[in-house]
Symmetry: D2
Subunit: 382 residues, 4 copies
């Protein structure tokens, strides 16, 4: 049995890797070692660990590693603490492969710990261009990783240009699309009744918007102003809105504070605030909504497959590959309002396979079960 | 005044950046913030901090960050601890630029801390190919860094291929060559008298070899066998030899133990063991020796400028660019012996400017004083 | 100049040591090295560091050391991280004496770091009995400390019984009383106008209550239920109430959540929620209020000097020495309600010097300036 | 099954708790969770973990937590890192009781982590007086611990005086004596042949001395001078000597260096240097030797039971309770020499039960299986 260790560290991580976790558990030659850590353990970010357990996964360990402060220096420190902790976990679990998801600081912790420990490192979402520190970190992880599961063809080409050997690049699509694909086949109960959250009651049978706007870490002092522009635009639409609290990042305190002040002053705005949905429910939600607004990659990624109209605000997703469903705007209330109105009018787009066809998790598990990963890397020059 | 923070973390770091430290201190628009940490503080590695202070530098702080154990998991943990610590230092020092040297785990700590903290990161030795985890880490740091000071033209090209913008790539040569260049202009006292160390007395006026062989972290369980092959070969030459203890890396305990056992059994072998020389004295030493043997990059790097014959053993420097002065061999005593003999016979090579012309430190300081570094990176596609 | 390093780590710390900080700064033979860390840096706990700076103190460094999670294991981890960080600070600051305040986990970090580093450790509030993990930690710090500043005679006797030498025990009173004493001499502006907070507007000229209820770490799973009992009782009084968010401790998330849910359901309850007041304003507030309710030590400590009626709820202050002004009750809404009503009826108590006469800060500074502290401790047997 | 977690962190820890580990494993109602960490993992300190595994114990995890440097600040940092790591271990292992041994910094890590995590903490060797930072730490741990296993009656009384409840104090004797008791019933092979080490060959059938001298952390800058005095005295006796390398503590680098320089200059002195013996072999060794010299507690502790003559040098064991077998001297070569000579002349002393009768491990396991430990502590006043 090959031991595949996956570290799930955040809300976003989990939905982006869940179908792979299932595929590993079901694979006869693979054994899953699931570590849950960082913001995935925190109440403020929706206690993702509880969702994971409810989904039937049994973590081998939990690892608290977020240094509180939500500013650039605590992001750095959380990275460091994550490495310290994960090294001990890997030392004791002795996995054959470690898989790390995407590009956040907890992801980098996993990558640094396993690569220094001579454990073959698999990485998803490598080669994507997006701007921001996340992109730099994503590429840094690529240079530490031994086997790559980029989501798109273009991303795969970029990995090769950066010196990764084509034999180690496997374009499997993104596991997030697997959940989207499954969700389109199922009916969905009233999610507004299912989840608590705070704010006005929303009507599941009426049109609604979804908003997710994270602080951009290189602009984190702008976070309050940027949040206000979106709040202003959404209020102007008059539509009922499911709004998600931001990620744990430099600036998220400022975003949260801005949202709280807005709630205080606009008690009857038809907004409801959520910490977290299960990945499946989240996909159902953005499949059903009129438009997804903000700077979450889900509008672009899952959105392209689902055909959900998306208004992408600001620089956070700057260079990310996108389908037809996205309109980009800056942090101006007027521009955001106009784009949302136009998207609502347009309605659903045609589904695109840009980010995968819904079989990523299985493909990845299969490749890991067969592929021998060489721990020594050589810079590949075409 | 622009505050330039340099973190010196090891013996090798210091010699490779010293001329830049001097150039920053002498530059009217730059202020040096020197942090000394990791193995540069440890007695076992020659208490480099004492040399630094004797050279007239005044560290703003010292930071202990090596987790003891010298195996893969403690290398990872030392990286994590370094990040935790350096983030606090940067938070309080508020540098305008952080400069990190080369590719070791302490270097990565510096890079991760400063890049997450939105502090422009300068990096030396980027773009060099060498094999081993050091290369992966070097490239990972490149992807986090904002301004690059590669040593060679070829390295500069590789950085561009990896997506770094040519405006941020400045080929200045390696500051290590600055010391080599200066050393060729000065006479040198008897270094065997100057330094303590252990073992047989060496005669400064007779020919001698220099050996430096580090464990290769991806092969660290081979460290003892590899050390034995070199010991065997060198003993066969019968030449007096200045031998340096290895770096703090997974496997260095095994190397040290092998050396101690050899000393125990061969009390009269003309070997003398040293922990550390000042960078200048080290350059004098390898300028004067008949041949430098092992897997230190100094034989290739400073060696090319000095024309010192070098026998490079094993995979650690596999792909490093090299001049005429290097013969490569595997970890077999016979092959090492033959190569050393042949190099002694050949004698000095013609000096090469492959790694610089001796003005790197000044050039780098000058560029940092003038260049505005943009904290936002964009992947460069030619 | 003797360098006195004080680590201020929380809201409570600051008010309990501020008059000493001033006394050190004004003392001709002492130099203050002020480090601000842990929850004193966090927005959630009122950004105490900003108050400190506004008060004219200039911290030599800030140190983020809270591991997020607010459960028993993150309290332990925050202690560990604090030690790691503070050791580096002390290494570089080289203080002659370190002073640590009271009994929380950040206090223990300071104590462990300085005592292992052979730096004489001064400690305030030693020898007090209170129940809870805080008491154990307080006594553990006593056994590490070299010079003791207990607040009361009885506490001083207990220190001696625990083996501390009488020469090292100086009963100076609590510096918190210094602020209380000063506050009684000054008039105070409308604090409800000065501070933001959330909730209903309060009228400064009408009677009001103050509530502060922290989770008890050994009962942290009870935190929600305990908070509800107090909420219920206070609501029943119908009085306007200034309510403070709890400390960062295991269980504080549960307390905060309970408060938020209550606010959501009782939008017109005359409660206003505050994160933090400056220490002086806080003392003014509890001097002016009809009754202080909850489990903060301030009701007992500053309350005894101010004569403010106090209803102390639950076990957190179980064994703390108290004056006439305190009624103790369990976590039952009815009992709390009855006690509050009775205290309001009683009105102000006579001022007591149980916890000091208002000159503690000066006395402590004076003793430190004159007293040679021996780093070697001997168990004292009377 | 009650889960008993024991953290073994050093050479000394292991011998002092081994019989308890065995008793827990053999007890029908107890389950052992053995964590091995800190210096017990390091080659420099004899790789105790290998001995533990050879003895048939199967650690649930290993935890590297020593920050290299061996000075006061790295001792503090190692304590902090230990807490960080152990908190994660306890979080995942969920023990019913944690047991911590004696008084070193790793012991304190265990105590802080478990007490903050509301896990009942058992402690051995509490209440002993010895001078040095170890004593302060021992008492600090006492104030954090919930159940005490002091070795002697006098120690038990001291615990009570410090406020520990007599119901939680169980005088079981020291488990180290269990090994001593067993060793006296077995014959022993030639240990000089069994262990490697470095230096001159020793003859098992001739009289020999054993030396163990650790740096005293509050005097760590004196370590070299103190080591020289002992070296000088022992050389003067002309006797063959088994000498152990010191613990990982501030100053141990200086001790090691002094020993190495001595070996370099005195190649024929009949000294042999050892890193570590198994606990049983160590007890055999000090049972057989003519005299044990230095400042290890084993001369006093196991020595009292075995009747081995002991020369205790310096302040490290200052106040430790001792039997008839000990002569105390300062760090003067002459005094040490005289005392050793006198002890050799005297020969074996009568066995004493001061530190136990050889059944401590079993008694402790039995008590833990029956005793309900209350996590809430109340200061006990007789």
């Amino acid at each position: 049995m090959k031991k595949i260790c996956v570290v799930v560290n955040s809300r976003a991580n989990y939905g982006r890797i869940k179908s792979f976790l299932t595929a590993v558990e079901e694979h006869p030659e693979l054994q899953l070692q699931l570590i849950v850590g960082a913001s995935a353990l925190l109440y403020r970010f929706g206690s993702v660990v509880d969702i994971i357990k409810k989904d039937g996964f049994d973590p081998v360990s939990v690892v608290y590693s977020i240094v509180e402060g939500e500013n650039p220096s605590t992001m750095a420190k959380s990275t460091g603490l994550g490495i310290l902790e994960l090294a001990t976990q890997f030392e004791n679990l002795k996995p054959d492969v470690v898989l790390t998801v995407a590009d956040r600081f907890e992801t980098l912790s996993t990558a640094v710990a396993s690569s220094y420990m001579n454990i073959p490192l698999a990485h998803t979402q490598g080669g994507e261009l997006t701007g921001s520190i996340d992109e730099s970190v994503r590429h840094a992880i690529t240079k530490l990783a031994h086997i790559h599961f980029p989501a798109t063809d273009k991303a795969g080409e970029l990995l090769q240009q950066m010196g990764e050997h084509p034999d180690n690049i496997h374009i499997a699509g993104c596991p997030a699309i697997d959940l989207a694909e499954q969700s389109t086949k199922k009916t969905c109960t009233n999610l507004f009744e299912k989840y608590g959250g705070t704010g006005e009651n929303l009507d599941w049978d009426k049109p609604f918007l979804v908003v997710l706007q994270h602080p951009v870490t290189t602009e984190y002092q702008e976070a309050a102003r940027q949040t206000k522009a979106t709040l202003e635009a959404i209020r102007r639409t008059g539509m009922q809105t499911a709004w998600f609290w931001p990620n744990v990042d430099a600036g998220s305190d400022a975003v949260s504070k801005t949202l709280r002040v807005f709630i205080g002053k606009n008690k009857n705005a038809p907004f409801h605030f959520y910490r977290n949905f299960t990945p499946e429910d989240y996909v159902h939600l953005i499949n059903r909504c009129q438009c997804i607004v903000g700077n979450s990659s889900s509008g672009i990624r899952e959105g392209s497959f689902l055909g959900t109209p998306c208004v992408n605000v600001g620089t956070r997703q700057n260079q990310r590959e996108r389908g037809e469903n996205v309109i980009d705007v800056g942090h101006e209330a007027g521009a955001i309002y106009a784009a949302v109105t136009s998207q609502i009018e347009h309605g659903k787009y045609v589904s695109s396979n840009l980010y995968g066809d819904g079989k990523a998790g299985e493909k990845m598990a299969d490749i890991l079960s067969k592929h021998h990963v060489d721990i020594r890397k050589t810079f590949y020059i075409a």
